[in-house]
Structure formats: structure tokens, C-alpha cells
Symmetry: C2
Subunit: 233 residues, 2 copies
């Protein structure tokens, strides 16, 4: 995913980022650039670039005469896709998956409502196509194909909302849906009710029925919450 080896500093981040987000260095821990550079066997300049990136994610703070201190979790840029990936890849995965699902349940219904008003004919067609693809692969353990269409469906909804902030959550939703299929629940065929809901959302959007699109999408996200035993609204 994304860019694995984009330079030495990236290689360092691939190790250090997950370590910090996993809580291996408790908040307030102090790292020293020189030591880190030695440990990772890179030059100080490379190490400094890595630290700058971590700093821009608010994972650490660099101060003269002190060192590089790890910031408390509540200050992290938790919307940074990279941070999200690191957390999903580590011990924090279940917790991260839950908070993202709650986020989804707030965003997606609103996005669907907007999409019903703003979607272009092309987007409507794409949506229908995705929903039909889900139907087509909803039986017989075609999980990979089903997932593909599911992700595409939610991406179209978020994009068609016309809101850039919503649209940028497409990757996050994709990550959640993929994670759900790969690791957590969903070993059997998907819930037929969920499939039907997607089809009906596509219909509602095409019919420009914002209220219905929103309500149906809410039902989808409520299902996602229930899968994780999160109290439904």
C-alpha cells in the first residue's frame, strides 16, 4: 500500500512510526536523534528528516537540549492516513477499528444525503453498478469480489457528496471494510439485508431522495456498529 520504500528515512519511519503509535515509547519518553541514527544505521540528516515527519504528525516534539519527546496519544494527528495505517497494523488495531467505525456512522449517512442531491448521472450509474456487483458476489464465498464493490460503493458516495473532507475519508472506509473482511468478522457470506440496503441506497440517490438515502445509509452503519458490539444510536 502507498509507498513502501521511498528513501532511507521512509524505511526508518516504517519501524519507528508503528513503534510509537503502538505505545512502545510511553508519552514523555525521550529519544535522541544521534542514538536513533546509530540504532537504525543511518546518517544524522536522514534521521532528522524522519523526526521532522513524526513531528508534523504530532507524534513527537523536538526541543533543544532535551531531545525528541513522545507526545501523548490525545495530541496525535489521528486523521493522518499514515498514522491510521500504523495503528491498524499494530496492537491498537481493535480500538482504532472501533473509533473509525463510529466516525463512519456519523459521516456516511450525511454524505449519502448530500450525494442524493449532488451526484452526477455518471456517479449514479457507478453506484448502481457497484450495488449490483455486490449482489452478484454476495453468495458462494466470493468475499474478495464482494469487498471490491463494497469499497467502491462507499467511495462513490463519499466523493459524490461534494465535500472534500468527506471524500478524503474514502481511504479510511476502505481500510475498515478491508480489515473487517480480512481479520475480524465476516467469515461467511455477507448479510443479505446489508446487500439489499446498498441497492436501496443506490436507488434513493438516483431518485434524488436525500432523506431516504441518509436513513438507509444509517441502517448500514448501524449494522457495522453492531458487528463490533458498539451500542447503536
Amino acid at each position: 500500500m502507498s509507498t513502501p520504500g521511498r528513501g532511507l528515512h521512509g524505511r526508518v519511519l516504517d519501524t519507528l512510526g508503528p513503534a510509537i503509535t503502538a505505545g512502545e515509547y510511553p508519552p514523555g519518553s525521550i529519544l535522541r536523534t544521534d542514538e536513533l541514527a546509530q540504532h537504525f544505521e543511518v546518517s544524522r540528516s536522514v534521521m532528522r528528516e524522519a523526526v521532522r515527519v513524526l513531528e508534523s504528525m504530532h507524534l513527537v516534539e523536538s526541543r533543544r537540549r532535551v531531545g525528541v519527546t513522545v507526545r501523548p496519544k490525545c495530541e496525535w494527528n489521528v486523521y493522518d492516513p499514515q498514522v491510521i495505517r500504523w495503528r491498524l497494523a499494530g496492537a491498537d488495531r481493535p480500538h482504532q477499528l472501533r473509533s473509525l467505525t463510529v466516525l463512519r456512522s456519523a459521516i456516511e449517512p450525511a454524505a449519502a444525503g448530500l450525494a442524493a442531491r449532488l451526484a452526477t448521472p455518471e456517479q449514479c450509474a457507478e453506484l448502481t453498478e457497484c450495488a449490483l456487483g455486490m449482489v452478484a458476489h454476495s453468495r458462494g464465498h466470493r468475499l474478495a469480489e464482494y469487498l471490491y464493490h463494497d469499497v467502491a460503493f462507499h467511495r462513490v458516495i463519499l466523493t459524490a457528496s461534494g465535500n472534500e473532507m468527506f471524500a478524503r475519508l474514502g481511504d479510511v472506509v476502505a481500510e475498515v471494510l478491508t480489515g473487517r473482511t480480512e481479520h475480524e468478522v465476516m467469515f461467511e457470506d455477507p448479510d443479505p439485508a446489508a446487500v439489499t440496503l446498498h441497492v436501496r441506497v443506490a436507488e434513493a440517490v438516483r431518485a434524488r431522495d436525500a432523506a431516504r438515502a441518509e436513513e438507509l445509509t444509517r441502517q448500514i452503519t448501524v449494522g457495522a456498529l453492531q458487528e463490533l458490539d458498539i451500542l447503536a444510536p
Copy 2:
């Protein structure tokens, strides 16, 4: 806000970041590290650190033999607080304010619903205090004091939701509310109806009435949307 002069590379970012987010360099534009370093009169190492930060925000992409290319807006990390600040400070301000307000209108009702279930007694008290503070300063052009309590109110709601993703939007909401008071609408005393809604939300949360807290908060955000002439859901 935040940290103005955290090193030379930060000074460079203060100029280059806003320039890019303002669209001064159209997507696909190619910058060269050496030229930038010369232009900003800093060493290549400092310039490289700045570029690394921009790269981690997905504002640019650095490739060998090519240079530093500006990415299209749709790929930016639009949730990065720094990016949001840069955009709010530039020509993109009205558009950014709108998309953030739409985001608020999706998040805050959900957060209020969760807060009604999960808020601690201390948070309930804090909420009431904020609401009363708003009432106290809702007349006689006490806009600064009103704003202070308004921001605090929404921060408490987002924090009390128990969701880290919601909580981290506190700064964003603060930025939007402040922006509204300082530049856009709101030259006169705040709308009495809005003030009352805040008081009632505090009551609903204290009464553990999630549905009511959510609905009342939705009314608040609908008001915010209408102020910006955004079609209400």
C-alpha cells in the same frame, strides 16, 4: 497559534505551505530543492526537511531526477490541522469554512448523542457552566467572552463523546467558530435561539437523553449551515 518559529525549516513552511495550499503552484508544478533553498536563503538540509514535511502532508511528491511536484488538491491530507490553518489563512478560506461546517454538522450531533451516554459528572457540570457562560454574555456585544464559552462547550461535547476521532476535531470547530466571529457573519449579538439550544443540549446530556441531545445539536449545526447559505439537510 501553535508554534510559529520552531526552527528554520518551520519558517520556510510558513511561507511555502500557504503558497501551495492557496494554489499558487498549480498541481503538477515542479519545484527543485536547490532552487527553493537558494530562494529562501537556507541550506539544502533545512530545505529538505521542509520538503519532507510537505510530503508527509501529501501536498507534494519528491521524485529522483524529476524534482518536487505539487499534488492535486484531492490528494492533500485535508485533516492535517496545519493544512487547515494554512487554507483558512488564505484565499481558500470561504470554501474551507464551508466544508468544515458541513463536517461539523455530521459529527457534532453524533458526538452529542454519545456524550449523553458517556459524559462524566464533571463533564456535565462543565457543559452547564459553558452554556450559562454563553447566556451571560449573549447580550451587549460581549462577543469575545461569548465565543470563549461557545468554543469550550463544543470541545466538551466532542471530548465527552469518548471517541478520539471526534475529540481531535475540537481544534477545527474552535477555528470555525472563531473565524465566524472574527470575519464573516455575527456582527451583532448571537441568535437567542442558538443560545437556548446550547442550554437545552447541556440539560439533555445531564439527563442522559441521547436522542434529544443529538436532535438539539443537529438544530445548532443546521443554524450554522444556514448562516453560510448551505442547503440544510
